[in-house]
Symmetry: C2
Subunit: 200 residues, 2 copies
DNA sequence: CGGCAATTTTACAGTCACTGCAAGATCATC
DNA sequence: GATGATCTTGCAGTGACTGTAAAATTGCCG
């Protein structure tokens, strides 16, 4: 059938792309499973590769570093949606209120079972805890950039930078508090409390 | 073997301790020098060991990790003095004012030439930038602990936790701003600005 | 001074994350 | 079904870091 019509360009990007995505998912799943079973440090990438039925060398074509396997699960839940969601907020409210509103819309994805599991691993090792801080920095920059778009007046920039810092800090402390209380109150409650305390 | 020349008969702290301290200092100095000359990543610990005239294995008895060599320079300037200095503040002022006052007393040590050099290295590599964030977390905990001693009423704890977060955040942003402006204003000015913005 | 125990230094071997390279396997397309 | 692009893999190597056990050094006592 030599129909010269290219109605589906996804067909050309088909099998290869799909296979690649499947392999990446398999690595992430097997990796997470082994991390949970044996611990993060005790799990070698060799073992993850074997469980994923690929060579060790190939694994590095899918994940550049070991902790990227964990970021596969952590990433899409929050970071990517942060900028767009915040930009959709109204500029008629105080910036802090906008960020709080945005956070409240997003944190539901963060309370899935898998997120809790990943979070436990993320807190099990110094190297990963440190890595987590880096993510907060990225989120802070994302929030700041979005705030600058919503309130473009340049004389507010310094103030917005502080707002971004306080907002992410409040989020971090809320998650920290909830972890320690282990589930007696919802993350949203802690968030609202912390944001209320920001302005004193 | 040469004669035993004991000009200073140290009682409990003998030759051993002094030699150990000298070796540690030598490693830190040679390490910093090589980091500046060739870059942090490009400098192997093997090279640092050779420059320090010790074996590679011995180096690990003095510094457990590569970045600990940098922390040798960073550490004593700020982190260790933070708790005691903050505890010396008066509890008659708002907590944020106390932290600001404490910071202003301490940051002078942070503007030495060596600190600037170390800071440049600390910002030259992703791994070290991440490491730096971990130090901020430690400082935040230190500030929080001191604040809890100054204002022990338990119902204020949540609020003090936020204060510690905001204070360290303001410090971090001040240093960030000064780095980017490369010295046109003093760190103290940025700090005062940021603390003024915290209360809005 | 000599001898002995405690400590320090070192060599050696090994683990693990990660990289570069080049050959083989697989896939898309004409 | 040949061809070029992409994917997979083995192999060798680097560099941070660890365990071990043998030397060298140091503290101390008689």
């Amino acid at each position: 059938m030599s129909e010269a019509m290219e109605e589906e360009p996804a067909r050309t990007e088909g099998l290869r792309e799909r296979k690649r995505r499947a392999t990446r998912l398999r690595i992430a799943e097997e990796g997470l499973r082994l991390f949970v079973e044996n611990g993060y440090d005790a799990t070698t990438l060799e073992a993850v590769a074997v469980a994923s039925r690929i060579s060790a060398r190939t694994l590095f074509h899918y994940f550049k570093t070991k902790d990227e396997i964990l970021q596969f699960w952590k990433g899409p839940g929050f970071l990517e949606a942060l900028g767009p969601t915040l930009l959709a907020e109204s500029a008629d409210q105080p910036p802090l209120d906008a960020v709080l509103s945005c956070f409240l819309k997003l944190i539901s994805r963060y309370e899935t079972e898998k997120s809790v599991i990943v979070d436990r691993i993320l807190n099990s090792t110094e190297a990963l805890r440190t890595r987590k801080q880096a993510i907060y920095v990225t989120m802070e920059q994302t929030v700041f950039a979005a705030l600058c778009e919503l309130w473009p007046r340049p004389e507010r920039r310094a103030s917005l930078r502080i707002v971004a810092m306080m907002a992410i800090g409040a989020l971090r402390l809320a998650m920290e508090a909830q972890r320690q209380a282990s589930g007696t109150r919802s993350l949203a409650d802690y968030l609202r409390d912390n944001f209320a305390l920001l302005g004193r």
